[in-house]
Symmetry: C2
Subunit: 182 residues, 2 copies
């Protein structure tokens, strides 16, 4: 069999990095809907070059999102070992909120289909079920509910640019998820 992984030429390697960097920036600013030409332009490259390195726009986004989601998952798994499951769960939500405040594509990133999304769901599921067992979260909330809420929250947080809003919305959602204390 032939060499399965011939090394890239120097300019190709360089352009690949430029495209990835530009994609990170543009997606973060404008979300997944940003035109691919803009990414190519910011990278100082033609659209064809982008497609040489990434088969599709979605594949490019995946490459960008993967690293970030992996970080989030790692953080979630670390938090899941904490002594206080309720605090761990809500801390993770806060972290997600902070990430979303800076980057417009977070809501798309956690929704990218694939193994990473499943891992993310598993991690969320674990945090949620531990918090639920500890009595910190109202019992009827499912993981799917949680993901919907998170997406809604991330979208709402970007509605307009008023500072402080993401934090307030997060407070409200956290309070809403908490067990009722009659």
């Amino acid at each position: 069999m032939a060499d399965p992984d011939p090394p890239l030429r120097a300019d190709a390697r360089r352009n690949r990095q430029r495209v990835l960097q530009a994609a990170r920036e543009v997606f973060a600013e404008s979300g997944f809907g940003a035109p691919l030409d803009e990414i190519a332009a910011r990278a100082g490259v033609g659209a064809g070059t982008v497609y040489r390195h990434f088969a599709t726009k979605e594949a490019l986004f995946e490459a960008v999102a993967t690293a970030r989601v992996a970080d989030l998952v790692a953080s979630a798994q670390r938090l899941a070992t904490r002594a206080d499951p309720g605090a761990a769960f809500f801390d993770f939500l806060a972290q997600l909120g902070a990430e979303a405040e800076a980057k417009r594509d977070t809501s798309d990133a956690i929704a990218v289909p694939g193994a990473l999304r499943d891992t993310m769901q598993d991690a969320l599921s674990l945090l949620l079920s531990r918090a639920r067992q500890a009595g910190a979260v109202r019992p009827e909330v499912t993981t799917a509910d949680l993901i919907s809420i998170i997406k809604g929250l991330l979208i709402a947080a970007h509605d307009d640019a008023e500072p402080g809003r993401p934090a307030r919305l997060l407070t409200i959602v956290i309070a809403g998820l908490r067990t009722d204390r009659p």
Copy 2:
């Protein structure tokens, strides 16, 4: 000056109603993003005919949304006279949730710019401030926050088709808006 408002021909009047009805249905099913051709097809009419009656797709949506938003506003104003401001506020949210569960374009409808949106904001503002003064809602929530939350909620509720989710999400949001009871 000439007659400023010549009466429509019979077929024109008929088609106008058909277009409006088709638009109501299609927008409710598929949201504002639905192609205009589909509305024309369902009305049994050419696309040109739609444009004879409504200058733009947005104008058509406005015509459809106006009636519904006006109903919501009227309901909000009626609720605002209730004895229990907290219940009035949360009842209105529930009504909005019910509307959104049936129609996919609710989140777009309440965002249509114009006098009606301002009226809607005023009505919401009144409900919210009365509920806040009664101590039923956490004090730091602004009207703009509320609108963002509603939009996020309406979008999230349609994320997938699982029944019961809209109601659960609404419960969570309502609980989150409620004053803390330490």
